[in-house]
Amino acid sequence: MARPVTVLLFAGARVAVGRSELRWSVPPGGLAAGDLARQIAAEYPRLAPILRSSRLVRNGEYVRSASETVRPGDEFAIHPPYGGG
């Protein structure tokens, strides 16, 4: 059985989803990062506007292309614009 992707949600994305972490099932061969984000936003519609200004992160590295594959067991994060300091 394929392991799920761990989805980390921060700030506005966390608020939109109502949780800071999700487990998301992906096919054994993985899923394009852009498609994964769209699937999540389809289930949590309030996430959609936040995604437009967010960066996607796979295993701690920025996703450079929406076609980049997210595989079972990966950590996938949605980063709205930062606000530290």
Binding site: A11, G12, V57, P80, G83, G84, G85
Partner: protein, 142 residues
């Protein structure tokens, strides 16, 4: 990234060492600004810890390359901070003062836009809390 209070004295000690004729320290603290949901009484900071720490290390290396810093401190709080608490300390030690200032400024400016840290406001009790994560121009000057 730490859950514990930040200390300016500890930051200065971490910057000590031979050749450091000039030390510049910047401290950001939570301000009690008025907001639409009432006066801010606290900020809650969250971070994507691993990438945040990796970015801190990259910033330290960039400061060393660009400004010849001898030592650097980049410390940020996470969790709930009351008004007046220190949210961030950046510090630089250089031979001379111009690069020390420039490097400290570089670190805090870059930190705010490149490190995965977010804050949300908690307003005065008695009103409904209002979440404004990642809003530019937040309630900490840091």
């Amino acid at each position: 990234m730490t859950d514990r209070p930040l200390s300016v004295a500890a930051a200065f000690r971490a910057l000590e060492g031979p050749g450091a004729g000039a030390v510049s320290i910047f401290v950001g603290r939570v301000r009690p600004d008025p907001g639409p949901a009432g006066r801010v009484v606290a900020l809650v900071y969250e971070a994507h810890r691993g990438p945040a720490l990796a970015r801190f290390r990259a910033l330290a290396r960039a400061a060393e390359r660009r400004f010849r810093t001898l030592r650097v401190v980049i410390w940020h709080r996470s969790g709930r901070l009351r008004v007046g608490e220190i949210s961030v300390i950046v510090g630089t030690a250089c031979a001379h003062r111009a690069p020390a200032f420039a490097a400290a400024r570089f670190l805090i400016e870059d930190l705010k836009v490149t490190v995965p840290i977010w804050k949300s406001e908690r307003a005065r009790p008695g009103r409904r809390p209002r979440r404004r994560p990642a809003r530019p121009g937040g309630r900490s000057a840091g």
